[in-house]
Structure formats: structure tokens, C-alpha cells
């Protein structure tokens, strides 16, 4: 699926073209659903989220500006932002309980890649992955947690057992190093 094709489909969806919407769904839903599952770790929640995401895409396609970011980047951002909202809401729903932090921790532990996943990732290494590898392991993990789990500074501080301010300084420095690496 080329970028130009996705650009065209999004332009047609913004004009309420149902055929284009169907084609867009066919071509992108597996990727967005995979991301929802990755963020939410819960099939039913991910299915609900995917519905909401495509309703948003239908309603807001005109907000996509071709040439600014790749169309897939825009679609992934819509999906990620919605899934993160859902994840944060369901976390805040359990945060009153004593095991609130454990839930976040369990989810961290559950995400270690298996051998197949590690191999696949090595085949198709994104630049950001290579740059994350240049960071101290747990700092890279903090960036991944912020992006893929929507972890807040407070949650990250609890996870890494450091004060909130330290956590923010850490992460900001990591982001600066990442940017330096990415722009090399």
C-alpha cells in the first residue's frame, strides 16, 4: 500500500466516500488493531477502541494534511491517542485499589519479546529502535512505555522508583539524546 494511495483514500474519505472508507479499512485495520491490542492488552477493549478509531477517522479525515506526515503516521496517531486514552481511563479506574501499580508492572513484564518477535524486529529495524538502543536500557524502556503504554511521569516514576522530577529530567535527557541520534 503506497503512501500516495493512502493519501488518495483519505482525501476521498474526507468527502464522505464510502467505497474509499471501506478500502481504507481493508488496508489499514490489521495494523491499527495490532496497535490497539499492543496498547490495551485486552481483546474486547481493543475491538471497541478500533470501532471508535474508525468512526473518528471517518469524521475527521479532513483534518489530515497531506505532506505534513505520512498518512499511516496520521492513522497510527489517531489510533494510539484513542487507545492511550482508554488505557489511562481503565488504569485510573483501578488506581484506587492497592494493586493498581502491580497491574502496570504485570503488563511490563508480559511484554518481553519472544525469540520470533526479536528476530522479526531485527529484520526490520526502525531507525528509532537503533537510536533507543544507544540509550541506557531502562531509559529506552521509559520512552517505549510513554509511547506504547501512555505511561504518565507519575507512573514512570513509580515504575523506576525515582522521584517525579528526576523521572522527568531523565526522560527529557533521553529525548534529547534520541533527537541527536535521529538527526544524524
Amino acid at each position: 500500500m503506497g503512501q500516495q494511495d493512502l493519501d488518495d483514500l483519505l482525501a476521498r474519505v474526507s468527502m464522505a466516500d464510502r467505497t474509499a472508507f471501506g478500502q481504507l479499512y481493508t488496508q489499514t485495520s490489521a495494523k491499527l488493531f495490532g496497535l490497539c491490542l499492543r496498547i490495551l492488552h485486552d481483546r474486547a477493549q481493543a475491538e471497541d477502541a478500533l470501532q471508535e478509531i474508525y468512526v473518528k477517522i471517518w469524521q475527521r479525515a479532513e483534518a489530515y494534511q497531506p505532506g505534513r506526515v505520512r498518512p499511516m503516521t496520521w492513522l497510527l496517531a489517531v489510533a494510539r491517542n484513542h487507545a492511550i486514552d482508554v488505557a489511562r481511563k481503565s488504569r485510573s479506574g483501578v488506581s484506587g485499589k492497592a494493586d493498581g501499580d502491580d497491574t502496570v508492572l504485570d503488563r511490563l513484564e508480559a511484554r518481553d519479546p519472544g525469540p520470533a518477535e526479536t528476530l522479526a524486529a531485527k529484520d526490520e529495524r526502525a531507525r528509532i529502535e537503533a537510536c533507543l538502543d544507544e540509550l541506557v536500557a531502562e531509559r529506552a524502556e521509559a520512552v517505549r512505555l510513554a509511547y506504547l503504554d501512555g505511561a504518565s511521569y507519575a507512573e514512570l516514576a513509580a515504575r523506576f522508583a525515582v522521584p517525579l522530577n528526576t523521572m522527568r529530567t531523565w526522560l527529557r535527557r533521553s529525548l534529547l539524546s534520541l533527537r541527536a541520534c535521529l538527526s544524524r
Partner: protein, 226 residues
């Protein structure tokens, strides 16, 4: 640690925090206001979005169950569907040129593309009556199709075929029970749609594995001007 209060005041870092959703609400709001006026800041956010999207793209692709697409369609198209259904009925009952003209005029006021498609076909069988309603646009190749009878058993599907003259059937895609699906006629087949025949066959889930009908042909109908 001595660095606890040393926040790098770099817009690039602020942009990353904004994209990640890490900024406290008041800072996020302030940043959003700056974004409106500052294209350089927007570029920074765009660049971070591209990089982070690469992380998202590492997630394994998983095909969602078909019910999700039906639910999305029902929500996105829900306000228009009943009208379409009423009009199909109206066409069947009246069918006169005047009535059709009025219907088209009414429809073009809205966003109601499917009703305004110039060609249509009703696929019927002797036993089950109407099986599917199809509307087509020969210019765009757009097809709106709804299966209204002879719903498939579990593990089976209903596939729609276009048959032009003596040529082999060409698959237009799968129909869904009670839901309007959008399909498309390949570009090179659009010229001779009027008078061609549509057929529905019984196929395994996912459609014919061979590219030609493999199961029983359940219903047929000619394409005519709406």
C-alpha cells in the same frame, strides 16, 4: 541527584513530550496555543510523530473480526441507511419515471450517493424472492450492495459476480447479510455494465479460492438503469 531541576528548555523536547502526552495539562495547553502560531513547532511535532509511528508499526498486525467493520458501518452510515431502505421500497412499489425523478432530486440534496447511482439490479430467486439489492455507478465503478435474503450458513459466504456477455464471471467481492457494503467494478469493465448480469454464489468463508464461482449460483439479475 543534582540534575533534578535541570530541565532542558529545548522546544524539540517539549514537542516530544507533547506528542507523547506527557506534559501536565497546563503546559500542554500552553504548548497547543504556541503550536497554532508557530510552524516550526508544528514541524518538530510532525517529525516526532513520524519517529514514534515507527515504534507503533512494530506492533504485530492482527486482522480484526468481521463484526467490527459491520458495527463501524452501522454507526457511520446509520442516519442514512433507513432512508436508503425506504427508497428501495419506493422504487419497487412505484417505479415510474416521475417518482424516480423526485426520488433522485430529494436524494441529491443530501450526501446520499448510493441512492443516486444510475444503475441497479435486484437479484432474485423463484423460491426466496429478493436476495440482494445492488446499485452501481458506471463512471466511478462504485457498487453498493446489500444481501437481504439467503444468508450464508456459518463457514460459508456469498460472493457477487459480474458476467458480461460470454466472458467468465468476475468477482466483485463478498456480500454481508443485512449490511450495505461498498464494492468496486474494475476500470476496464465499467463501460458495458448496463445489460450485464450479476450473480451470487455460495462460497467458503473468504470467498472463492479459485477466482471463479465454486459453489451453487443462488440468484441472478440483470443490471438496468435505475
Amino acid at each position: 541527584m543534582s540534575d533534578e531541576t535541570e530541565y532542558p528548555d529545548d522546544d524539540a523536547v517539549l514537542a516530544a513530550e507533547y506528542v507523547l502526552g506527557l506534559l501536565p495539562a497546563d503546559e500542554a495547553q500552553g504548548f497547543a496555543h504556541r503550536l497554532i502560531r508557530d510552524p516550526a513547532l508544528r514541524d518538530l511535532c510532525d517529525t516526532w510523530s513520524e519517529h514514534f509511528a515507527e515504534l507503533a508499526e512494530q506492533a504485530e498486525e492482527v486482522r480484526p473480526p468481521p463484526a467490527i467493520w459491520r458495527a463501524i458501518q452501522a454507526r457511520v452510515f446509520e442516519r442514512r441507511k433507513p432512508l436508503w431502505r425506504r427508497l428501495w421500497l419506493g422504487q419497487a412499489l412505484v417505479g415510474g419515471a416521475l417518482a424516480a425523478g423526485i426520488a433522485l432530486a430529494v436524494l441529491r440534496l443530501g450526501w446520499l450517493e448510493p441512492q443516486a447511482l444510475p444503475l441497479s439490479a435486484a437479484l432474485t430467486t423463484e423460491g426466496a424472492g429478493e436476495v440482494a439489492r445492488i446499485a452501481l455507478d458506471p463512471d466511478s465503478g462504485e457498487v453498493m450492495a446489500e444481501l437481504v435474503g439467503l444468508f450464508p450458513d456459518p463457514g460459508r459466504a456469498r460472493e457477487l459476480w459480474l458476467i458480461q456477455g460470454d466472458n467468465a464471471p468476475v468477482s466483485l467481492g463478498l456480500l454481508a447479510p443485512g449490511v450495505v457494503v461498498a464494492l468496486a467494478v474494475p476500470q476496464d469493465l465499467r463501460a458495458a455494465l448496463a445489460g450485464a448480469v450479476l450473480a451470487i454464489s455460495d462460497e467458503p468463508t473468504g470467498g472463492s479460492p479459485t477466482g471463479q464461482p465454486t459453489g451453487a449460483v443462488l440468484a441472478t439479475g440483470a443490471i438496468t438503469a435505475s
